[in-house]
């Protein structure tokens, strides 16, 4: 009884997910999925990530300005009202998108859609808010993020791999000065109907469309934000750092939409064990020295992808040893046949599907669909099914033939150089 009911619920949710069609409402793309969650979430996804910024740090400052004073409400009023209704307002910034999210109880959508849209439409961007709230928070966020060597390594890796565009960091680098006028100009360009997608989960699509039409109907203009198409460069850099684990990043990138073969390569090398306390079957995990953590990172973007391995450990010798293991595994990963390939494809399929589990991930998947990326779950999985040994071999070997991106952070006198690892 219970089993049949839960499977019925699951198939119902799958149907709902499949029918999340993107509708143009007042020029803004709106998509909503209602899987019967007790709470609703609405996200305004704006194509205003750091790759579009005109000046370093502007995108981060714009993110900081979210939910500050607007023509309708003061900064304090926004927060107190959201608290009274028991909602959570949050923002996140990636290299491609700025997401403004409100999570709230069902039925409170008029207020929260209004809070989000009044920021988009009529934020004041006052100088004193920048000085008193936004700039200190941006600085603290950046300092915290960059104190983590893995984050710093990935940030530098993007810069080496893509230089401009995707190379620009979603964090403010210390010493950059952003003025209110910069933020205002950037926001004016970013908040245009064609650049914006409104995504809802746990909310009826028709309700959301009506609210968006009411609140964003008067939004006009065309975005002039642009970013040059990405191309991959690669390179090597070393940064001195102390008091944090010794970190190296070995990666490769590619321009063009991320392919299924790359996901398979990532799944094959991913050293995370499927069972707790085990070593995992990845070729990297098998020969790893103790006390070193290895993570594989696959970062797909709309027109490029970066894949890499982050190796961290307290001891430089062991990090070097692990780096050699990782490079050997990377080189061998071009030839993947039979069961190994099937295993990697299965793992990649599971990763792609389970990535849609959380609410944030559903929102981002919807957003990618709404803002024009072709990556729906069904197509991702069918593409993974189509991966053959020859296609994989061709894609992986050309991917691994490119110039590697190598970053070392920590004791740079002892950490290995790229050529010492055999890259």
């Amino acid at each position: 009884m219970l089993a049949s009911r839960s499977s019925a619920a699951r198939s119902a949710s799958r149907i709902a997910r499949n029918f999340a069609t993107v509708v143009d409402t007042a020029g803004v793309k709106v998509a909503a999925v209602d899987n019967g969650e007790p709470t609703s979430a609405v996200t305004f996804l704006v194509k205003a990530g750091s790759r579009f910024e005109s000046k370093p740090g502007v995108a981060h400052a714009l993110k900081g300005f979210a939910f500050k004073s607007t023509e309708k409400r003061s900064f304090l009023g926004t927060i107190r009202e959201a608290e009274l209704y028991g909602g959570v307002l949050s923002t996140s910034l990636t290299r491609e998108h700025l997401a403004l999210t409100a999570e709230f109880l069902r039925g409170d959508e008029p207020l929260f859609v209004d809070i989000l849209s009044s920021f988009v439409k009529s934020a004041k961007y006052t100088r004193h808010e920048l000085d008193e709230y936004v700039a200190p928070v941006c600085e603290a966020e950046s300092t915290t993020a960059f104190s983590n060597p893995a984050v710093r390594a990935l940030d530098l890796a993007h810069l080496l791999a893509f230089r401009t565009g995707l190379g620009s960091s979603p964090f403010t680098t210390p010493g950059t000065h952003v003025s209110v006028e910069d933020v205002k100009a950037y926001a004016q360009n970013a908040f245009t109907p064609g650049n914006l997608a409104v995504l809802g989960t746990g909310i009826d699509a028709a309700t959301l469309q009506k609210l968006v039409e009411q609140s964003l109907g008067s939004l006009s203009g065309a975005s002039t934000l642009s970013s040059s198409p990405s191309s991959y460069f690669g390179g090597e850099t070393r940064i001195e750092a102390h008091g944090a684990p010794e970190t190296i990043f070995i990666g490769f990138g590619t321009a063009g939409a991320p392919s299924a073969e790359l996901a398979v390569l990532s799944a094959h090398l991913d050293p995370t064990p499927t069972i707790k306390w085990s070593k995992g079957l990845s070729p990297i995990a098998a020969n790893l020295p103790a006390g070193v953590s290895v993570k594989s990172v696959l970062l797909p973007y709309s027109d490029a992808a970066l894949y890499g391995i982050v190796i961290q450990g307290a001891d430089t010798e062991r990090v070097k040893e692990a780096g050699k293991v990782a490079v050997a595994a990377l080189k061998a990963a071009g030839d993947l046949k039979g069961d190994d390939l099937k295993k990697a494809v299965a793992k990649a399929k599971f990763d792609a599907a389970s990535a849609l589990d959380g609410r944030d991930n559903v929102l981002f998947a919807l957003g990618a669909q709404a803002l024009g990326s072709p990556a729906s779950l069904d197509s991702t999985i069918s593409n993974l099914d189509k991966v053959t040994a020859t296609a994989y071999h061709k894609a992986a070997s050309s991917f691994l033939k490119a110039k590697p991106t190598y970053v070392a952070i920590g004791d740079i006198k002892r950490l290995p150089y790229a050529d010492e690892l055999g890259l």
Partner: protein, 128 residues
């Protein structure tokens, strides 16, 4: 909160409302502002707002760097005059048209924020 506010009590809003009264009072106000002598040491009226309070300090922090620098210069110049027991030469006096309320809008916005915070803090929630 006019009485306890940083700007002190003022009849100006009431007078501004009445056109006839305003026309009658304005010359006297101008004469009084000139007579009170702060313009002779280079001050603007907003330099005289009592700044030893948190809200006015916050307002001062909201001045543009240029305004803050000029304010500091005027304070220095006036305290120098005070040491010399003298006023500035006549061409350095603040002209009536230069005597703008550069700080008042900031003080008012800080005050408004404080009042709003107080209102939210003491709010009573009722069910609709």
């Amino acid at each position: 909160m006019v009485l306890a506010g940083p700007l002190g009590p003022s009849l100006a809003p009431a007078i501004l409302k009445n056109r006839g009264l305003y026309r009658w009072v304005k010359p006297i106000a101008n004469w009084y502002a000139d007579l009170s002598g702060y313009r002779k040491v280079g001050y603007k009226y907003d330099d005289l707002i009592m700044e030893e309070r948190d809200d006015v300090q916050r307002a001062i922090n909201r001045l543009t760097p240029r305004e803050a620098y000029d304010r500091q210069f005027r304070l220095k110049q006036a305290s120098h005059c005070s040491v010399l027991h003298d006023v500035l030469p006549k061409e350095k006096w603040t002209k009536a048209e230069e005597d703008v309320r550069y700080l008042k809008p900031h003080v008012e916005s800080v005050e408004q924020e404080e009042l709003e915070r107080r209102a939210w803090d003491n709010m009573v929630v009722s069910k609709k």
